[in-house]
Symmetry: C2
Subunit: 113 residues, 2 copies
DNA sequence: ACTCATGGTGTAGACAATCTACGTCATATG
DNA sequence: CATATGACGTAGATTGTCTACACCATGAGT
């Protein structure tokens, strides 16, 4: 229930970054990407399918990742995504944007001296 | 122009936190709060009025801050906000939420070892 | 052969936070 | 008395996430 329960939310706008970063290790399908992020973040980041697939489609539409149907480890059909050249560039951009913003927030939270 | 200009955006959901944290120093009005955040973040965080005032109203509605009309330094009428007791508690909550999420994102970006 | 759990992809609609682009009012200042 | 400025405010668009579904194909068990 809880008709409007807002609080599993991850940090807006970071999902694209997380996905791009994950694909640096090589092509992967949606499920695996979400699983990887969840594992590496030690369960702090849990990506819902309703966020995951729209994100993948939007990244693909922007040309930052490219897709291909293949067969997964478990023998199921799956859509494998890989980083494109521009995606790699975008990753750098977003990574530095994150860096800058998170430093700025931290600076407000714990002002020097 | 730029009919849909997308990239001045600060990190969703962090604004409330920034405002609450700023009010720890004592009551302040909207303009001053935004100015403080911008200064302390060394211009990395610039809060637009269309984000600022809705945020203040929503924090007030939730009982985390309380307001009072006064006269500002410059002699203009201004609405001074102060942290309430529950606001102080909320600040702790949001601060630790931020901490946790930002660590998690960083962990994904630069995996250990 | 049949069933079913599992793995994987997907969409619709609600919701919330931010932005842009305005508008308004009161006081200080020249 | 006019004007700049300090300060508050709202409307509407945009966007990203979530919840809650639905769907399909394959593997595994019987």
């Amino acid at each position: 229930m809880t008709p409007a329960s807002p609080r599993n939310q991850l940090l807006y706008g970071t999902l694209d970054l997380l996905i791009l970063r994950t694909l640096v290790y090589g092509p992967a399908h949606g499920h695996a990407i979400a699983g990887h992020i969840q594992r590496v973040s030690e369960d702090a980041l849990r990506i819902e399918t309703g966020s995951l697939y729209p994100a993948l489609h939007r990244l693909e539409a922007r040309g930052w990742i490219a897709a291909e149907w293949k067969t997964s480890d478990k023998g199921k059909r799956a859509r494998y995504y890989r980083l494109t050249r521009t995606g790699r560039r975008q990753l750098v951009v977003e990574q530095s944007r994150w860096q800058q913003l998170s430093v700025a927030v931290t600076r407000v939270l714990q002002p020097a001296e």
